[in-house]
């Protein structure tokens, strides 16, 4: 995107589109994060965004980063599940006949309703992707508003929290060529993952997939192989019911491989004796083909990843491919 530099006038046009389509609370977050004046009305937001662009407080990169966050890739949870047993060729018909037909190929929505809502279905010859939006509340500690009050002989302390709204995205992604699907869930801790699974399942059933619970694909083997093959393993924990072994690097960049005394401990661990494995893996651009170095926590027995960094769609695909390859090794 850096190659396609917008002029300030074009940036302002883009900002206006955001003001029209986006909820006020999120524009406030954008203005606040850029250090610009905020305002209270849509007109205020539009003027203040323009002023922030003129004052170089808000750059194209910042706007794009903000929009990329809306897209919902990275800094999230990801569950790896088995693909539905359905002929992909029948999905178009299933979607058209379902109550969700209007979401097919809908333009990217910037609305985030209070309840999880399907906003977009994308179907092509190779993949099915579905996107849900939800506005989730969070609370930021806000010390300037703290106060202490005395009532009679008692003294009370009030700790202030400022309401925050997270633009939460849930995504279901299925590349027909892959033997797995992914459900990606925003990091907000208020999101009930079980409920998300039910909502995704309901939509899949409505568009013609069999109504069956999701079958998760454990990634224990992927972690076990990654610690022996990848230089980017920062921590690994191998568990069974009666105990566990945990090894970790506390370096900023180097993994277990860079810490000899820890590395040799790992040589003595027979990982095949452990039922469950989890680990913090780093995927490097040069070695793993990701766009940047990315930290991913893999919870093997839960079939869950916690991707820590913001990243691109291609990064997620690449990480899943690498993990799948690891997981397929005996």
């Amino acid at each position: 995107m850096a190659d396609n530099q917008l002029t300030k006038a074009q940036l302002k046009q883009l900002a206006n589109k955001i003001v029209v389509a986006q909820g006020n609370i999120f524009i406030k977050e954008l203005l606040r994060s850029s250090g610009a004046k905020i305002g209270t009305t849509k007109d205020d937001f539009s003027n203040n965004l323009a002023a922030a662009i003129d004052a170089d407080l808000l750059s194209q990169n910042m706007l794009e980063a903000w929009l990329a966050e809306i897209e919902g890739w990275g800094d999230q949870h990801l569950y790896l599940i088995e693909s539905p047993v359905v002929d992909a060729a029948n999905l178009a018909g299933g979607i058209a006949a379902s109550p969700h037909s209007d979401a097919l190929n809908a333009v990217t929505s910037l609305e985030f309703p209070d309840a999880l809502q399907l906003k977009q279905i994308t179907l092509d010859a190779d993949s099915l992707s579905m996107v849900w939006h939800q506005n989730k509340e969070g609370w930021n500690r806000w010390r300037p508003k703290d106060f202490v009050e005395e009532e009679g002989l008692e003294r009370y302390r009030f700790d202030a929290y400022r309401q925050r709204f997270d633009r939460s995205i849930v995504r279901y992604a299925w590349n027909f060529g892959d033997p797995y699907c992914a459900i990606l869930i925003h990091r907000n801790t208020e999101i009930d993952h079980g409920q998300v699974f039910e909502d995704v399942r309901a939509v899949l059933t409505a568009i013609g997939c069999p109504d069956a619970p999701f079958s998760r694909i454990p990634l224990n083997q992927a972690v076990k192989i990654a610690v022996t093959k990848s230089k980017g393993t920062h921590s690994a924990r191998f568990e069974l019911d009666a105990g566990y072994v945990e090894v970790a690097s506390t370096l900023a960049d180097g993994g277990i491989d860079a810490v000899e005394p820890v590395r040799v401990v790992l040589h003595n661990v027979d990982t095949s004796k452990f039922d469950r494995a989890q680990g913090m893996l780093h995927f490097a651009a040069e070695e793993d083909g990701t766009s940047r170095r990315l930290a991913v926590q893999v919870y093997g027995s839960e079939a869950r990843l916690r991707i820590w960094a913001q990243c691109k769609r291609e990064d997620v695909s690449q990480i899943l491919k690498l993990l799948w390859d690891y997981d397929s090794e005996s």
Binding site: R141, T228, A252, D253, V264, H267, N268, R292, W308, A309
Partner: protein, 366 residues
């Protein structure tokens, strides 16, 4: 010497030590200051590290640290920006705190490597008790499991005088290596064993390396001692093609048998005295060593102890591996054909005479 240069010499020595050992390549200012006995606030140290960054010796990493007192864990830039701690799971926004930015320094060098498993190949006319001693020493020396495959091909005597027996022995060695590599991989060990070979065992190793049937076999670091491999053996191609990671040729300054090897054993040469001429090999001379002195118990212990030549070669990054006694071999030419033909002829004659006895002995005492 300027008094201000004294601490800097110590800092440089510490950097050199870390690069040489491939250990402690990443550190904070405070950690490095503690290691060199200087205060972290020392501006001269900070300036020294900044200069190291400018020279490319060091890389600066802007990382983070969890601000929660009960956590304080280092957070890699690979996961930034952090709204939650991956370890203590504190939501920083809810706590009204921010991650602490912390600078790390990373030396531009390779990390150390481990001895994961080895194959040791003995020489001729020997029961090679050193192999058992080596296996025992290495098992005691390392605090982790590193299997040693002791390859024995029997008590070879006059067998070394004829080529076709070399080929037979080398085929057996290659096949055994292939089986061992497959077994190691099944046990999640690296597919490349490190090798230690002595005397005639070095010749068998060189035959395996040049045999097209064994092109699939790849090796880690190779140590040859008392080598009878020809000094002009093409190690460089093997290293460039990834067949061998690196070669250390331990030369004995008083090794006489290797000097006469080419006159008696077809295809051999005095690599263990002259050194290898291949540029990528490392020749180190022990001036007082005779042909089998490398494997005397006390010498063996010294080689594989911390700081020992073999241990350093097998575990340290090669870029900064600068052992004492490094030998730069002069150019080498084979002995005149006439002389070699004569001595070989004598060797074949000896073989013809003694082969039945040798065969009988091998049947009774392999």
């Amino acid at each position: 010497m300027n008094p201000s240069e004294a601490p800097e010499r110590g800092w440089k020595a510490e950097i050199a030590r870390r690069l040489e050992q491939g250990d402690g390549l990443e550190f904070t200012l405070a950690q490095f200051a503690q290691a060199v006995g200087t205060a972290a606030e020392d501006e001269a140290l900070r300036e020294f590290l900044n200069q190291a960054i400018e020279s490319g010796t060091l890389k600066k990493i802007e990382a983070f640290r969890c601000p929660m007192p009960e956590c304080k864990k280092v957070l890699s830039p690979a996961g930034a920006p952090y709204s939650t701690c991956p370890y203590c799971l504190t939501d920083y926004r809810e706590e009204g705190v921010e991650v602490i930015t912390e600078t790390f320094y990373q030396l531009a060098g390779e990390t150390s490597r481990d001895i994961r498993w080895m194959i040791v190949v003995h020489g001729m006319n020997s029961r090679a008790k050193w192999q058992e001693e080596f296996s025992w020493q290495i098992a005691n020396r390392l605090r982790y499991s590193a299997p040693v495959l002791i390859y024995k091909y029997g008590w070879a005597t006059i067998d070394v005088l004829v080529c076709w027996l070399h080929r037979k022995l080398a085929k057996r060695l290659g096949e055994r290596m292939r089986i061992a590599i497959a077994q190691a991989e099944a046990s999640r060990r690296p597919p490349r064993p490190d090798i230690i070979a002595h005397s005639f065992g070095t010749h068998l190793l060189s035959m395996v390396l040049t045999d097209p049937d064994f092109e699939d076999l790849k090796f880690g670091r190779v140590i040859t001692a008392g080598s009878v491999i020809r000094p002009d053996f093409d190690w460089d191609s093997l290293i460039e093609n990834g067949r061998v990671e690196a070669v250390l040729n331990h030369v004995g300054g008083k090794d006489k048998p290797v000097q006469i090897a080419q006159f008696a054993i077809p295809g051999t040469g005095p690599g263990g005295r002259v050194g290898y001429t291949a540029k990528k090999t490392i020749n180190v001379c022990a001036p007082t060593f005779k042909h089998s002195d490398f494997f005397l118990t006390e010498n063996l212990r010294t080689q594989i102890a911390d700081g020992g030549l073999w241990h350093n070669f097998l575990t340290h990054p090669l870029e900064h591996f600068t052992p004492e006694g490094r030998l730069v071999p002069a150019s080498w030419k084979r002995a005149p054909l006439v002389i070699r033909s004569a001595t070989r002829g004598l060797g074949y004659a000896l073989f013809a005479v003694f082969a039945p006895f040798s065969w009988l002995r091998r049947r009774l005492d392999p």
